[in-house]
Amino acid sequence: MTTIEPVPYVTPERPRRRLAERLGAALPKIVLAPSFAISLIFVYGFILWTVYLSFTRSRILPVYDLVGFDAYYRLWSQPNWYMAIKNLAIFGVLYISLCIAIGLFIAILMDQRIRAEGVLRPIFLYPMALSFVVTGTAWKWFLNPGLGLEKTMHNLGWESFKFDWLINTDMAIYTIVIAGVWQASGFIMAMFLAGLRGIDGGIIKAAQIDGAPTLAIYRRIIIPMLRPVFLSAVIVLAHMAIKSYDLVIALTGGGPGNATELPSTFMYSYTFTRSQMAVGSASAVMMLMGITAIIVPYLYSELREKRT
């Protein structure tokens, strides 16, 4: 009997990947590539360009001869710029905190099984739908002492009522806050409402069973659980605060005096109306640095490996 050689076990060859398959594997990247390229050019390319311009003496149109830090020197010697920064601080803090406070308050009210929710929700949301070019005039009227609230109160017989913030250099920035809060707080309300609706009802039941009164439930359970919403709201509001332009232009045009100047209006006016493009670019660079300081930690926390 002949011995049969055992068939050596051959590792089957890995099939060579065909071109089509490799294309298939790269497909996701191919799909993403255009958007990414667009961002690279139209965001980062333009940022670099702006940075470059800030080192030139560009005035009415870009010129490309470098002159060093001249524009930054001019920028930081402008009282307007300090005013803009100071105003941004006041506006930013108040705008963000008031929007959140009011938004959360309304959201909590709206969450109490309100019958007319379908009617009320759009009422709080609609300001977000209007541009300030549209509503600026109404607000200007409304806050104007001779025409609006003050006059109305006088007509109603409250003669001593005084509300002249719009024309008061010390108070004008607060009118910007009022209008800004009016516009954005509804949106923030929607975010909080969504957050509240997302909370598992069982948790609230559990807290009731644990003997917690409604106030304690909000304070100890619900509001702490809305932390992610707070974070998102702060980011949304911060970027709106930094970009606020229409709001100021429509309401005060930066005045009285320069009392309501903000970095965004500063930048626009220096770049386009004052023909100091280099200074405008320098202010844009400063703004971008400020934004980076806010956004990068957010991105970091957002994109960090999620704990499981």
């Binding site: 009282p79 250099t169 004008a172 005045g255 009285p256 320069n258 009392a259 109306t273 004052r274």
Partner: protein, 393 residues
Amino acid sequence: QESVEVLHWWTSGGEAAALNVLKENLQKQGIGWQDMPVAGGSGVQAMTALRARVTSGDPPTAVQMLGFDIKDWAEMGVVGNLNDLATEQGWDKVIPAALQEFSKFDGDWIAAPVNVHSTNWLWLNKAALDKAGGEPPKNMDELFALLDKFKEQGITPLAHGGQPWQDGTLWESVVLSVGGMDFYKKAVIEADAEALSSDTMRQVFDNMSKLREYFDPNFSGRDWNLSTALVIEGQAGAQQMGDWSKGEWLRAEKKPGEDFVCIRFPGTQGSVLFNSDQFVMFDVGEDKRNAQLKMAAAVEDPAFQIAFNTVKGSVPARTDVPDTEFDDCGKKGMKDLAEAAASGNLAGSLAHGHAQPSSVKEAVFDVVTQHLNGQITTDQALERLPQAVAAAQ
């Protein structure tokens, strides 16, 4: 079809109607009109749009522009050349030298001037003035006396709109009134640091503070035409404003001399601060060149000059246009302009971009506005003014 594209901010009824004259004129010549109106803030948005158009390599045919902006753009080498047309039609002779200063760059015609506005006017409600004695004021002191009388009448003495350019317009009239034309030229046109912090300038700011007392509390941010309306309706006595203000009066069917009185700002009689709207012709391709030239010619057509300026309240840019169609104020304006040009008392308006580039203009506005709104004291203003001007140059 050949056509012109015109960027302007004359969007409201009267101005647009006046422009229509131009449009129809061109249409008769077979030239189409692509309208590119960008309203707002005396051309702020329009200049932004223009930058975008020029940068994208596709400038409009003609752009409405003021004073130093024209120079800035010319410097960028993006404007066209109208020399042939200008020589043919003899523009050099009929357009005042002060305007040519802006219409020409390096000796070449680049823009077709439309009109001449003058800013140092005071508009008075005739009824209120009559009640206060009927005598128009001739200097600052008389002005204050008159304003006091208005106050007694229980009306707002001086209607003013608190926007930087309006503050600036008032300020330049006060500078001219307090310091006279020489001082104005030194301080404003030459931006002499000494003049800007001189005692005369202190008086200017003191007067500004004084004037501030006669405003109503709602002046902040108010559009000029609303202030005019206050005077028209007799709620206010007077308004310092350029001659475009007349349009409002006319539209309200008021008659100069009967319902209202136009005078030079007290203390500035015989001097004229002007600004001039011009159509700057941009460097467009040969295919659009013919239409562009036809438009330039049409702008300088006396018929258009009359039609437009009677509505706008301004006076024609050409000195050879008859004044028969104009009303009292218009006639006075034309006469003043001619005299001032002859006597050397004609100077560009700062607030309207005919004295300094916009960077300096805005820097002055910053100081004036902050001072007027009480954010800084007169001392601070005197200190800041030369600094701001220097920084902006």
